[in-house]
Amino acid sequence: MILNKRINRELKENWVRYGALAFLIIFSLGLVVSMAGSTDVVNYTIDKNNEKNQLEDGEFSVYVPLTENQQQELKKMGARTEATFYVDIPGPEKSVLRVFKNRNDINTIELEAGRLADQTGQIVLEKHYAEKHGIRVGQSIEVNQKNYLVTGIGTAPDYSNVVQNVSDVLADLKQFSIGFVDETEFNQLLADNLNVDYNYSYQLEGNLTALELKEKLVDLEFDKTRVANKYMQEIIDTIEKGKNDLSGGVNKLADGTQELANGTSSLKQGTNELADGAGSLASGTDQLSDGLEELTSANATLNQAADDVFQGMIAQVNGTFENMGMPVTVTGDNYSTVIDGFIKTLDGSDPNAVSALTTLKTQLDSYRAFKDGLRDYTNGVESAYSGSVELSEGANELHQGSVAVVNGVNALSNGSTELNSGMGELKNQVTNFINENMDYQYVNLITFLEADDNQRITSCKSDAAINKNAALIAGVMILTLIAYMISVFVIQTIDKESAVIGALYSMGYVKKELLRHFMILPMVVVTAASLLGTALGFMLIDENIKENVAYYSYPGYTIVFPPYLLIYGILLPISIALLVNYMVINHKLSLEPLKLLRREKKQHRLANVDLKEMDFINRYRIRQLLREIRGNITMFFGLFLAILLMVFGFSIYGSVSAYVSNVASDVAYNYLYLLKYPMETAPSDATKVYTESLTADLYLTGGEMDVTVQGIDDQNPYFDFPLDGEKNDVIISDSVANKFGYQVGDEITLSDNLTDRNYNFRVKAVINFASGLYIFMDIKDMRELFGQEEDYYNTLMSDQELDIEAGRIATVITVDKMVAAARQMFTMMYGLVITILGASVLLFVIVMYLLVKMMIDKSTFSISLIKVFGYNEREIKKLYLGTTFYTVAFSTLVAIPLSKMIINKVFPYMVSNVSAGMNATMSLQSDLIMVAIILGAYASVNFMISRHLKKISLAEVLKTRE
């Protein structure tokens, strides 16, 4: 069709416009294809390497190496295993080198240079480590105070992300890496170093699942005596001692109960005798009491008789004295004195009388003594009686009591017999319990990690995948915008040539022919740009992949051309352009020929808006804006996309910067020691903490991610938040809150994958703690929850470096390391940030320039006319470029907050594979810089358009018809 000849000329006439659009397509496709292509190259290279070098399906570690039989047993089940034991030993420049022996079947080493180590004193190093330390094949390296000849440099598929711990945020390629030695050398290292990790890699065959394998490993028998690790042995000894103590205690208890049974038997016999004796006693005392009662009843008579006899004697003496003419009367009380008086008086003069008196007195004394004695006797009998009554009562009580004692002792005897018998049962049960439950198989399995959950294996691909997805989505957005912009330009052309098109219709052209014609140019531009952009993208892969290659450890890559990317890079832009242009141009060409001939345009309803008493300049600007509403809306979307990219760039910069600074400020301790084998007594200058690693569901990826739960106490000097509350209350870091979307009051479930147990917690508070993914709780509650002893700990925090035996330590985390890792993330992201910001500025300027120029071109007649009227350049700029300012200002005001909102939502997905929660953060400074960039871009576009405005001739009004 001859009409198509105009296409080339149209292209030449508007080369800036189409060139700029083509540039945008080439530029954006170049970026997108290179990013996505890099991901595909990474994926391809890694997949190929994994296949070639037999990547594991997973790995596990045990306390005691599996026996040959156990490995065979696992193999029969469908799990091929290979020992990947390792030791972490010091390398040059304070680095840590994880040394393995050469692998045969699984995760084999891919050499990039040299050969495998096949003699002692030789080593193969991971390639980044070798590069960072400037080591080449043939040179030597001092590892663990021994010189090794580096025979090869390469990679291992299970360490494409060379992190020391699977939960590490980032790798430090200079400070930690892996090396491989031959078996003899490795065995020597094992002899030197007790801290061996007995790790195994496995590959599943047949229908065996990882879960089934894990269950089998848990059940595998385990000879605790073969535990080589002295710290583990200590733990076993402690447990075994407890078991022996329990067993011994039960035996002693049994012996005691036997003795008790024997004793109660003797007691029973004794109490029976006691009861019998008490019965006899009661009977005797009764009889005694009766006899004494009889005696007592004669007491008064006896006393009276004795008194009568005595008084008779007194009377007899008084009669004798009277007869003797002695004027004296004696009484029972004074006879002795009186008679002694007489005797004294008569002494020497009448010996007979004295003798008689003496005899008399003696007789009286004897009578009196008898009488008093009798009285004493009767008093005694009475007392005896009353005593015998009490005795009798007591004896009776004694008897009754002894009967009760007998009954009690009988019961006691029966009880002790039963106790003895029960004790026998208890002993049997405790023995059985010990045999059944305390015959510790100790579950040999320490860790079990499937390859899909192992960030050493997955993060390279997942990292690349996120970039790829983001790039592909951004690409579609930009392409749609460009396609729409092209259609806007085509529409401008159609509008401009409306009468010609009407004439062509009048001549008999049909819409299909014109549609095809008007579609050709945008399609040619898009197709050519897509081809070039895609080609450029593939060429840029080398540049784009640099950072990934520099960080992750995998063999040299080969560029691949995945069909989908060719479809995305070539067919998708063409399809989008085809669709958008078809819809827009078809709509435009659907106007009746007569309307086209008359250049009739539908007046937009907005154009009739009542502007009241607004001043002329503003009214003119608004009318112009409304007249060009389509162009302005397109510009809004273009600027919005540019601003969205800008916000994204600044957000990456801001969030990573904030992460670096927060890591430094949030972590108060300088050293954190995670202990595999805690000491009984912690160093006094360290704070005890209990740490457990659990997993949480990550909604961002649909998978899981490790979180660290730390039990701390109120006295912990490194944290200042209160720990009171319910037993399952936890305080989560803002990093965790961001990552998993947890909020205060949420019930959260964390899992221990090794034991298949779930733990439920309630989020009590969120605190600032940027580093890693930490959840805090009261250490007492945590010990209780995880069934640990009251003083259990496995982590130490300290301001100073602690002197702890290396074998006890699982990991040492220092603030310096955390900050260094965070800074490394910043370095890695920096290139991306610059690219995004550059792309956004370019997009901003190009979109704005093209659309403003298009609008100015459409207004050529009016501009020429007002020039004719006498408006000067300044006034014309004010009228026409002022309109653009409204759109730019509106776009900026709307797009910045909206973009922030979108990026805030999207950002977590972009960093979903990073073991830390990061918010999209933009500082005020970034906001100001962004506004400055926008204003700068606006000013530069204004400058360019101003020059174009100057060129509009006054003659336009004469030759152009509106």
Partner: protein
């Protein structure tokens, strides 16, 4: 009759803006005749031309061109009608700006399987030396000649001319009218010319004057004055 127009009515707008432009036009033109439609601005002459050209619809009546009732054709059939039968010449030429003279003519050559000889046409229209020029490099008269060539290349049976000299100066207008005359004679093309230029009425076979939507005068010239002799 090659063109038969019977009581056609056409109105625009509704309510207060309702305007009846054609109020029952009836006429007929024989094949090979040149007919001038004259009338003041707003009289409805262009509307009549557009309805005959199938560019505008009528409210009632009928238009038969070469026995085809075009008022009943759908847009696709109307396109074919225009493609096969019509040529259009406009006041402002409506040439494709970024095609040369020759290419502009070829644009319509494409529409027919039996085009006229392009070089001959260029020669007749005096465009041979300008054939590689773009419209912007041509004078108004040259552009209109190019437009005529474009309309004629497909050898239409009916040539509709809407103010073909309206944008031209006297000399250029005369040249265009001479060309029209020449072409009519050479190719026997039926022509309808809407014009303000009353001088044209003397060179055409038929004159229809329209006033206020109705035919005020409709007559045939028995003696035609050559275009070269027209004065206005």
């Amino acid at each position: 009759m090659f063109i038969e127009v019977n009581d056609i009515k056409k109105s625009y707008g509704e309510g207060g803006s309702y305007v009846q432009v054609l109020k029952g036009i009836t006429s007929g033109i024989k094949k090979g005749q040149i007919c001038a439609i004259l009338g003041p601005s707003g009289s409805g002459k262009s509307t009549l031309l557009n309805t005959i050209g199938g560019l505008d619809t009528i409210d009632s009546g009928s238009i038969k061109i070469n026995n085809i009732e075009i008022s009943k054709l759908n847009p696709k059939e109307l396109s074919l009608y225009r493609r096969n039968l019509l040529g259009f010449i406009f006041q402002f030429y409506n040439l494709v700006p970024n095609l040369t003279v020759k290419e502009n003519i070829q644009v319509c050559e494409y529409l027919t399987k039996t085009p006229l000889d392009l070089n001959e046409l260029l020669e007749i229209l005096g465009l041979t030396e300008h054939q590689k020029k773009f419209p912007s490099q041509l004078s108004g008269g040259q552009q209109q000649r190019c437009a005529i060539a474009r309309a004629l290349i497909k050898n239409p049976e009916l040539l509709l001319c809407d103010e073909p000299t309206g944008a031209l100066d006297y000399q250029a207008s005369r040249e265009i009218l001479m060309l029209i005359e020449k072409i009519n004679k050479k190719y026997g093309t039926t022509m309808l010319i809407v014009t303000h230029n009353t001088a044209i009425k003397e060179m055409v076979h038929r004159v229809i004057k329209i006033k206020d939507g109705q035919i005020s005068e409709d007559y045939a010239n028995t003696v035609l004055k050559p275009a070269s002799q027209l004065e206005w």
